[in-house]
């Protein structure tokens, strides 16, 4: 167990090293901070002065070390465009993105699970075929198309839901939540739905496949032979045993939901990390881009580690082997 954890930490450190190198290279070489900060107006003298102040003429190794040193302390410098510390900007945006991803995940489970179960139990029924067909469409529709369709229908045509923003939010310490106000909740529905559409299909197909597998096993047959009601068999015996893979996949999906949120956040002007990242890209605000990359890497690492640990808990055989290969690592 400890050996496993240690190995995971080493892997994680390696990944972070690579990502931090990339993020640094971005800020140092690709972005040309002087051009980004000063723009076309700069005179040659202005540029020399700024280069000196940013220590751009130091050897890159020492600049990299100071970049990492500061990043570890949570200092990513000032955003060029917002003129505020990057870390403040990022922390401010985290709650919006996590709430969106969390609700989207809940949507996809609440809708995907029943669909999957239905399609497995009534697998010979034409309606389950139709549902599965629909799920293919769900997987293949890009979330921004879904988003724009939803806006057109529910905001412009029906006027039921707000087309942009997060509505009214409530501060709880440093966390802001839109889950406690009516306008916050109505604002959340469409972005979360747009984000969840692809996931619903994924979960449904996963549940269906797992259920079919389980329904073929002996203990389900015996349960049937004992004359238990189909409802009991399907829900308490079969479904429970399909849940473990569903949970792990959902965990990993949460990471993807956060990543995909970029597109949905742009469509709905959702004030989260993805929108911040896009705006930073648009204005080549390199400190923000670097910070986003590093944080995204950390986020994926943490989720993957947790998922691996869950495997460990769920499957005792892995514990006996004393470790786990690095599948599922970033």
């Amino acid at each position: 167990m400890i050996a496993f954890l240690a190995r995971r930490l080493v892997h994680g450190a390696l990944v972070l090293l690579v990502v931090s190198l990339l993020a640094f290279a971005l800020s140092a070489f690709v972005g040309d901070p002087v051009a980004s900060i000063l723009g076309l107006n700069a005179t040659p003298e202005d540029r020399v002065v700024l280069r000196e102040r940013l220590n751009l003429d130091d050897p890159w190794a020492s600049r990299y070390l100071s970049f990492v040193g500061k990043a570890v302390q949570g200092e990513f410098g000032m955003s060029y465009s917002a003129q505020r510390p990057v870390i403040d900007l990022v922390l401010e945006r985290v709650p919006a993105t996590l709430e969106l991803a969390g609700v989207a995940l809940a949507f996809s489970l609440l809708i995907g699970l029943p669909i999957g179960v239905y399609a497995a139990v009534f697998r010979h029924n034409w309606s389950s075929g139709a549902v599965m067909m629909l799920s293919v469409i769900g997987v293949s529709l890009p979330s921004f198309v879904v988003g724009i369709l939803l806006i057109f229908l529910f905001s412009v045509r029906l006027g039921w839901l707000p087309s942009f923003g997060r509505g009214e939010v409530v501060d709880i310490g440093w966390w802001t939540t839109g889950l406690l106000t009516v306008s916050g909740l109505t604002s959340l529905i469409m972005p979360a739905a747009a984000l969840a559409v692809g996931q619903v299909a994924l979960i449904a197909r996963l549940v269906r496949a797992e259920m079919l597998e389980v329904l073929r096993t002996d203990y389900i047959r015996f349960a049937r032979a004992r004359g238990l009601k189909p409802r009991v068999i399907n829900l308490s015996h079969a479904l429970r045993n399909t849940l473990i893979p569903v949970i792990t996949v959902s965990g990993i999906q949460l990471g993807f939901l956060v990543a995909f949120a970029i597109v949905v956040e742009a469509v709905f002007q959702w004030p989260g990390l993805g929108l911040l990242f896009l705006q930073a890209l648009g204005s080549t605000d390199v400190p923000v881009i670097s910070a986003f990359l590093l944080l995204a890497a950390c986020f994926f690492l943490v989720i993957n580690t947790i998922v691996d640990l869950l495997y460990l808990v769920a499957d005792p055989r892995l514990r006996v082997r004393g470790g786990l290969s690095s599948e599922g690592a970033l």
Binding site: N41, E75, Q83, S155, L158, V267, Q279, T284
Partner: protein, 531 residues
């Protein structure tokens, strides 16, 4: 039916979603206001927003003419000194009176901003003569200083002192957020209530505003909505009353929907194709057979004229811009100081004449060249470049369009410039054509800061003479003569192939009156919303 549904929906939404106050305006644009510190950015979207809170020393009418604002009159005393008389009885939003000391403080603060070196770098000192008189002393004569003062924003000194904001927030350095980024204390028509760049900026009417108030807005909220379809949807669903960036492709849709209208004004931006006027060998240019060219065709005025005659700006405005542009014939636009309406006539489009000119110049077989084209920042540049390329193909000039993202394009110019042929939008810092002469058309000498934005190295003696004389000429008649001489020379030698001014397009609900100013500012005190 659809329209009716839409209307009921928007009404229902307006009634339920936001408790409509008597006169509230919710308006949306593409990008957020970056900062509320008026000296810390020159981004025009942000400027249009902090202008609600901060007045400038000299004001602008809706037609962009100079008007008394915080200064009621100004005169040139000689000796590089301008005297500004300040308005009596103006108060900051916190109630403290505005005095010469605040103006002096603001001038000294803004002149040091790296965003305003082009405008105010020449100011050496500002002095308070008495409580309501300020002298501004420059290192050289500056006849257009009053026009530049339309972008000199006055902040309360005591407030800045109390909030540790005497200095402009410093970007390269580490540190905390400056107070002035999200708070403000100006004398403007609106008070800043809150500013959250990612979500909204809220203003409330300044009841003790010094100027008259033609509109009826008590409260206004600016919302950034980056995605164009969402912004349009927010307007059509009634969630916002007005959007300041109506995308070209949605103009028809909005203006044909009952209950909505569209309004336009030409933007202070001149789209033009710039051509290498100095190098002996043009960059990225080849003979028709693919061998590198050993001359610079663009240096020959006949070739420049040929290109000007071949590129049909009307067709570009018509097709690419869907009619949303104003054709430009000289290096100045209406509203700029020094604009000459009678000279503003674009070269005729004449392919035969263009071919003749090209043959006379010895390029009868044409040549191949590369057009560097910034892909964002301006409207539909990609299509403009490709349209120009196909028009030039008709006279034998084969053009390869080299699309570049803006940072890459900007780097090419700032670190070079290394482009012999490109599309660019030309504005003016001070809204005076003098700027165009001194910074975009004068022979480039970066060390002397002459012709600093003359990225294609255009060079003409008359233009240079005008560029040197305008900044030291105070007599209005003399100035007019110089403007005319310079603008005509620039047009005749094709300082650039002028194309068009894009239109600023706003979409809004019927019943709203919102005059557009060419600097893209929505002046909230002039807005009337239905009660």
């Amino acid at each position: 039916m659809l329209k009716k549904m839409l209307l009921t929906a928007s009404v229902a939404l307006a009634l339920t979603a936001s408790p409509m106050q008597a006169a509230e305006l919710r308006y949306a644009g593409t990008t957020p206001a970056l900062t509320m510190d008026p000296h810390a950015t020159n981004d025009f979207v942000t400027t249009a927003i902090f202008r609600q809170v901060y007045d400038s020393v000299v004001g602008l009418t809706l037609d962009m003419e100079l008007a008394p604002a915080l200064a009621t009159e100004w005169e040139y005393l000689g000796d590089n000194t301008w005297r500004f008389k300040l308005r009596e009885g103006v108060a900051f939003h916190d109630g403290t009176p505005m005095t010469a000391e605040d103006v002096v403080f603001s001038i000294m603060r803004e002149k040091d901003s790296r965003f305003y070196t082009a405008l105010f770098g020449g100011i050496s000192e500002a002095k308070a003569v008495d409580d309501l008189t300020v002298d501004v002393i420059s290192t050289a004569p500056d006849p257009i200083l009053p026009r530049k003062m339309t972008r000199m924003f006055v902040m309360s000194k005591a407030w800045a002192e109390a909030n540790d904001s005497l200095e402009i927030p410093d970007l390269g350095a580490e540190g905390a957020e400056a107070h002035s980024v999200r708070n403000a204390n100006g004398t403007g028509p609106m008070k800043l209530i809150s500013h959250d760049p990612s979500v909204e900026t809220v203003f409330e009417r300044n009841e003790s505003y010094w100027d008259e108030w033609p509109g009826n807005v008590d409260k206004a909220t600016y919302l950034p909505i980056g995605s164009a379809p969402t912004r349009v949807a927010a307007l059509l669903s009634g969630e916002v009353d007005l959007i300041v960036d109506l995308p070209l492709q949605d103009i028809e849709r909005v203006s044909s929907t009952a209950g909505f209208k569209m309004e336009q004004a030409p933007q202070f931006l001149l789209m033009q194709l710039e051509m290498d006027g100095t190098r002996d060998v043009a960059l990225d240019t080849w003979n028709k057979d693919g061998t590198p060219i050993e001359s610079n065709p663009f240096k020959d005025v006949r070739v420049r004229l040929a290109i000007a005659h071949a590129v049909d700006a009307e067709l570009i405005v018509d097709r690419v811009m869907r009619g949303n542009g104003r054709i430009v014939g000289i290096a100045s636009v209406p509203g700029f100081g020094g604009y000459q309406a009678d000279l503003d006539e674009r070269w005729p489009t004449d392919v035969e004449r263009a071919k003749e000119l090209l043959a006379e110049a010895g390029y009868g077989d044409g040549f191949t060249t590369q057009l560097n084209c910034p892909l964002e920042r301006y409207v539909n540049t990609d299509d403009i470049c490709r349209a120009a390329a196909s028009m030039l193909a008709q006279i034998g000039i084969e053009v390869r369009v080299n699309g570049m993202v803006w940072p890459e394009f900007a780097r090419m110019l700032v670190n070079g410039p290394t482009s012999s042929f490109h599309l660019i939008g030309n504005g003016s810092n001070s809204f005076d054509s003098q700027d165009t002469f001194t910074s975009t058309m004068m022979t480039r000498d970066a060390d002397k800061k002459e012709g600093f934005f003359n990225w294609a190295l255009y060079s003409n003696e008359i233009v240079d003479k005008v560029a040197r004389e305008l900044p030291v000429t105070f007599d209005q008649e003399e100035r007019t003569k110089l403007y005319r001489e310079g603008l005509a020379a620039a047009r005749d030698t094709v300082s650039a192939v002028y194309l068009h001014q894009p239109m600023i397009t706003w979409g809004m609900k019927d019943g709203i009156t919102a005059p557009i100013r060419s600097d893209a500012t929505l002046t909230l005190q002039n807005v009337v919303v239905p009660e």
